[in-house]
Amino acid sequence: MSTLVFIDRADAELSAQALTFARGLGDELHAALMGEAAASAPDDLAAYGVSVAHIAEGVDPYAPAAWAQAIVELVERTAPAAVVGPGTDRGNEVLAHVAARIDQPMAANCVSLTPGDPATLTRVRWGGSLLEEARLHGAPMLVTVAPHAVTAETVAPGSAPATVSASPFTPALSDADLVVQVSERAGALAAGVSLTDAEVVVSGGRGVGSAAGFEVIEELAGLLGGAVGCSRAVTSAGWRPHTDQVGQTGTKISPEIYIACGISGATQHMAGCKGAKKLLAINPDGEASIFASADYAVIGDLHEIVPAISAEIRKARSG
């Protein structure tokens, strides 16, 4: 039996992770791609073990119900053992529509899946602070893959399918399938990444020493596509505006990683960053209270360490 993977072309990395996750769930790996522009994509998919790429036409721009209908047609036609999507907004949305349409259970943000009757799986709850072991009583198995639960890996060169057979089709859509469709793409509301939404926040505290000292913090945040934050001491000193403050009386953040530089870890500050999935603290004082809440610690002067990290990132990207 085959496994069908929904490819969210807006996020190649997470889609590749979904392909890696799905490999081994069935004999063949099929990919579902949406839109005419996808026609050029299939060749890259061979490396991830995809043998057939189904390309739905006439579904642009994004219309979740229509995309789900395309997958439902593929499910009816190819009877896959599993339909897997990436844990992106669209991955979860499209799979949920599929699940509703075929009235089957669906598990979002899985970190592992073992086929069986029922299938058993482990999925993420509470934004990652808890895992759930569950049984999935349904066919096909409908799952999305939690971001970064697996590392995207290509198959061994010898075992990759020689070619990907592209299989374009035009799903039969009703008017209702196109009621919800992107009507317009607008620019971002504000330049830069907002503290609330940022996946990475790099913050400086009193240890930064001055307004000018934030240059190294800004550089690292920029390299990681993140936002710059600061502690209350910094806004009190007038080095940064209050809008940059992370803390109970500032912004409450929930990034994938929070990098706190020269921040001692006052209660009022920690109340603002407890939503961070990971906390990396850089502080010269090994006894600083922030280390009690940190996942990773680097002990030393942020003015030496932060530029070294930025340099290392540049090296990794260029190499």
């Binding site: 529509h97 598990a107 934004g127 602070s129 793409r185 407890k274 009690a292 680097v298 990132i313 990794a316």
Partner: protein
């Protein structure tokens, strides 16, 4: 216009999560309860829409008897009425939850023009109840909305996507799931709280079917509750830091 908003009572987890003996729930002995920030924005939006266009706002929850507290919290900030689908406190899977909610909405004398959900629940994070409810009711559904306005019989939604915003215009009635940031939820006034105490709550007791996504147990992720891992001292720690960033898919 009539707006219905669905919310879910969840414990307020501030620190180390502790599980119950049977590992099927979080130990809530010393925890307070709340609803997710997404849902708070949903309730606030429902109140604002009714303030602007008239009609009735309704809050609905599926949860244990104690979830009445969250319904009253929402009425305290201005939601007009409340429907409580009283559960035994056990875990309802998303299909069962959606079916119960859809049935309750169908049974309402005045059908809502707009049904709001949080983008995902704070605890289970199944990302599907709203979509299943929309499907059951034959309504369109827009998810992850951070900007919402009503024009004529349509609702205009903005969704944040990498690099910009996607706009949708959908005729009502419709289902919309919202995200934190849509608005700033108001702080409840005391006259509002006192009034909310006296308002009736419509209670229903749906049957729980066997779950098809069946939770077996909860597990604390490996590494939680440990002391910080020291990556090094001084600039020599940089490669180790980049290693961590790489694991998170940032480099």
């Amino acid at each position: 216009m009539n707006v219905l908003v669905c919310v879910k009572r969840v414990p307020l987890t501030g620190g180390k999560i502790v599980l119950t003996e049977d590992e099927r729930a979080i130990s809530t002995r010393h925890l307070g309860f709340t609803i997710s920030p997404h849902e708070e924005c949903g309730a606030e939006e429902a109140i604002r829409l009714v303030e602007a266009y008239g009609g009735t706002s309704t809050v609905l929850t599926l949860g244990p008897p104690e979830a009445e507290e969250q319904l009253r919290d929402m009425m305290a900030i201005g939601v007009d009425r409340a429907i409580h689908l009283v559960s035994d406190g056990g875990e309802w899977d998303p299909q069962a939850t959606a079916a119960a909610i859809a049935a309750a909405i169908r049974a309402q004398p005045a059908s809502p023009d707009l049904i709001l959900f949080g983008n995902e629940s704070a605890d289970a994070g199944n990302y599907q109840v709203a979509i299943r409810v929309a499907h059951a009711l034959g309504l369109p559904c827009v998810t992850g909305v951070k900007g919402l306005s009503v024009e004529g019989g349509a609702v205009r939604c903005e969704q944040e996507v990498p690099g910009g915003r996607d706009l949708y215009e959908v005729p009502m009635p419709a289902v919309v799931t919202v995200k934190e940031g849509l608005n700033l939820p108001r702080y409840p006034s005391v006259p509002g709280r006192l009034r909310a105490k006296r308002k009736p709550v419509e209670a229903l007791s749906p049957e729980r079917p066997d779950p098809l996504l069946e939770m077996v147990r909860l597990v604390l992720p490996p590494g939680s509750g440990k002391r910080a891992e020291v990556l090094g001292r001084g600039p020599e720690a940089a490669p180790a830091v980049v290693g961590v960033l790489r694991e998170l898919g940032l480099v």
